[in-house]
């Protein structure tokens, strides 16, 4: 079969299609977004009617996938690492219910925080919930292991966590496809009480889960996903997880590492394989593109065994993603240096697009806030977070999805009145709506600036669950109609907009100012498409 040139994300998407999924559930989040987008664009997926509409947030996505698994079909759920925090309640309990149809949870981590607010390691979640984890190290493995994840899920009736990092998600290489598996038929669980987590049942299910651990470890021995590669030089042995393996072999001509290596791509890591390595070498280097999870286990609290090198002893930097040079240095190899940094290079941080409505929206907010002391704008996650940077410097916080409104309530209750919450439309329906209900119930004196650009902008313009519903939601949770104001963030309407915001800042209750203007990126794409269609409809005379 011909090789496809695919991003790691796309390899996972194709793997899931070929594994016979009936649905993919997700909320956009860098670096995981392209998985769902690939399935949405796939002709094959269309023909098979694979469900692929965006969910409102990661929790609803996770729960929908559990529902599909309950009904016997295979489903994939995708999110970025911090999305797994949102979905954690559902995810951890899905390990207790177990799966019926294959259930695979993809979490894309972002070590070095290229596009994130932390670099948490999803493998902790896998361990925390006692489910198997697969961690591919290249695009072909991403494809193969996605398929294997579904097999594993159905074999052990358990959700499987598929963990990748940004580097694999957004790097392309050739991938060979394998035979397509059939989708499952609708089939309820053989035990009708499997998904009822009443304490009495949950206790039984939890014991079942614990009892599976040994077999899961055995599978990680025999699946071929973990490999022991012997080497003559026993002065050190290397445990290389996921991408760590690539960076290791990059340092050696033809990839021939002189040391024994344990290549880890499936967890729980088989103790027997680790024992074999430990017994045959003088010391161990652990390479993990994330937190030092295995390293910490191996080292133990008192660190009384053989020397374990890694992130904890400083052989590898404590934070940030791995690369070939970091690994080479940890092995004491000589590292080639490039040219010294040039003096004339300045930083070039990302910024709001030219013509973006957020410029006008936050420009007006800045002016309306001039009479008040600084530090009043609690903001959120989205393109508008960039308004923290000069020249706008308009916002004071960004913590997690939806936190603007709830943090504004807390700040207002502490006495910071008025407090402003700045949030986008997609983030609002992701996690802002419930906070707005809190605000209404508590009669909190906050002003919500809801920047409605009719899309999920930062991740590249995916459909927003909020489209056409924002006013209704605000009214529905009880915001006073008179304090739901609509403005159009345009430069020529600046004075008007400042006036509206000023009025609402003075109001001692919940107000929502909807600043509505389409994202310039999606608008541009729409216009291009329209022009193309017009050209097609009227061929040149």
């Amino acid at each position: 079969m011909q090789k496809l040139l695919l991003l790691g994300d796309e390899a996972i998407a194709q793997g899931a299609i070929d594994a016979g999924i009936s649905g993919v559930y997700a909320y956009p989040g860098t670096p995981s977004t392209e998985i769902t987008e690939y399935i949405q664009a796939s002709q094959e997926a269309k023909e098979r009617d694979i469900k692929s509409m965006w969910s409102s947030n990661e929790k609803t996505a996770m729960e929908t996938a559990i529902g599909m698994s309950y009904a016997g079909k295979k489903s994939l759920v995708c999110m970025k690492h911090v999305g797994l925090n949102v979905a954690a309640d559902a995810f951890i309990n899905s390990a207790i219910t177990g799966a019926n149809g294959g259930l695979v949870v993809l979490s894309a981590d972002d070590p070095s925080m290229h596009s994130s607010q932390n670099e948490q390691d999803s493998r902790f979640y896998g361990k925390f919930s006692f489910v198997p984890i697969l961690e591919p190290s290249n695009q072909q493995e991403a494809y193969d292991m996605t398929r294997y994840a579904f097999e594993l899920s159905e074999k052990f009736s358990i959700p499987v966590l598929l963990r990748i990092t940004t580097r694999l998600a957004h790097s392309r290489a050739g991938v060979t496809r394998a035979e397509t598996q059939a989708e499952n038929e609708l089939k309820l669980p053989s035990d009708p009480r499997q998904f009822i987590l009443l304490p009495a049942i949950a206790r039984k299910q939890y014991n079942n889960l614990l009892a599976k651990q040994e077999a899961m470890e055995e599978d990680a021995m025999t699946s071929g996903n973990n490999t022991y590669i012997d080497g003559d030089d026993k002065s050190i042995g290397v445990i290389a997880c996921g991408l760590g393996y690539n960076y290791l072999i990059e340092n050696f001509e033809d990839g021939k590492v002189p040391y024994p290596v344990l290549k880890v791509n499936q967890y729980p890591v088989p103790k027997k394989m680790v024992q074999k390595l430990y017994d045959s070498v003088d010391e161990i280097l652990v390479l993990e593109d994330g937190y030092p999870i295995l390293e910490e286990l191996l080292r133990g609290f008192l660190n009384l065994g053989k020397t374990v090198k890694g992130r904890l002893d400083g052989s590898i930097p404590r934070a940030g993603e791995l690369n070939p040079n970091i690994v080479g240095s940890a092995l004491g190899m000589e590292i080639l240096q490039g040219f010294e940094a040039a003096e004339s290079v300045e930083g070039r941080p990302p910024q709001l697009c030219e013509g973006c409505g957020h410029w006008d929206s936050f420009g007006a907010l800045n002016e309306a806030l001039e009479p008040y002391s600084a530090g009043r704008v609690l903001s959120d996650i989205g393109c508008y977070t960039l308004s923290a940077l000069p020249p706008l410097q308009a916002i004071n916080t960004c913590v997690d999805m939806g936190a603007s409104i709830t943090m504004a309530i807390g700040a207002a209750e502490a006495g910071l009145v008025p407090a402003v919450a700045a949030i986008g439309d997609s983030t609002f329906t992701h996690s802002g709506m419930t906070g707005l209900l809190d605000a209404v119930n508590r009669k909190a004196p906050i002003t919500v600036l809801l920047n409605d650009n009719a899309t999920t902008g930062m991740t590249g313009g995916q459909d927003s669950s909020a489209l056409g519903k924002v006013e209704d939601i605000c009214r529905g949770v009880g915001v006073d109609e008179a304090h739901i104001r609509l403005i159009k963030p345009l430069r020529r309407l600046h004075e008007e907009n400042v006036k509206v915001i000023s009025e609402e800042l003075e109001y001692n209750g919940v107000s929502v100012i909807i600043a509505r203007r389409e994202c310039v990126q999606t608008l541009g794409r729409r216009m291009k498409l329209k022009a193309l269609e017009k050209k097609k409809a009227s061929p040149e005379i």
Binding site: R167, A173, E250, N323, F339, E346, G347, R348
Partner: protein
């Protein structure tokens, strides 16, 4: 060009590590796609790490493009080992000189600044820093592109200027442009082929 052994049909080893640099939205991924398409048509292996997400909003972006006749391990090019830095913006080209191989490395860049920051340095200082390097090509890509018909082909002019250093048959790059631009119409294909030639001619004359 250099892929087949002159003295027989043995597949000789080929390996190029290329850093592509620019500002989000300047079209460095188009350059990567064209080189990648040409490399694949030669039966070479390829890995290409891209930047998606936040930085695409007018920030600095880079792509690690690795091409080899053998398996490629790392998605990232090791520091100090890049054969080429190809940049569509002069200051951005300098951001990656630490990646460049000190003996083998060539830096090929457009001389046209993309000025979207308040503290953009004096262009002369930037160019002086570039001209300190032992091996470089600097090209007024916008001017050359304009002469070929449109400033929009400036990125392909830069690719043309880099083409003598790629070890990929020039005809294959032309074919790749045809493949990549075909859905945008015959005029775009023609423009970009002309831009590719103009860039290469400039590089060949200047070095």
């Amino acid at each position: 060009m250099f892929l087949y052994d002159l003295y027989g049909s043995n597949f000789t080893q080929m390996k190029k590590d290329i850093m592509l640099a620019g500002v989000g939205g300047q079209g460095i991924l188009t350059i990567a796609t064209i080189i990648g398409t040409a490399a694949l048509s030669e039966g070479l292996q390829l890995k290409q790490a891209e930047v998606h997400g936040m930085s695409q909003r007018g920030g600095d972006v880079q792509s690690h493009l690795r091409i080899s006749s053998k398996n490629i391990a790392s998605d990232l090019i090791p520091e100090g080992k890049a054969d080429l830095v190809i940049s569509v913006e002069p200051m951005e080209s300098l951001r990656y000189v630490n990646m460049l191989h000190k003996e083998k490395g060539w830096l090929i860049t457009s001389m046209n600044p993309f000025n979207n920051i308040a503290n953009y340095p004096d262009l002369e200082l930037v160019l002086k820093d570039i001209w300190k390097l032992p091996q470089y090509v600097t090209i007024d890509a916008e001017k050359v592109a304009k002469e070929q018909g449109s400033i929009r082909a400036a990125n392909i002019v830069v690719l043309g200027a880099a083409s003598p250093y790629l070890d990929i048959e020039f005809e294959l790059l032309e074919d790749a442009i045809k493949t990549v631009f075909s859905r945008k119409g015959e005029d775009m294909v023609k423009l970009n082929i002309k831009a590719l030639h103009a860039g290469r001619d400039y590089a060949n004359k200047s070095t």
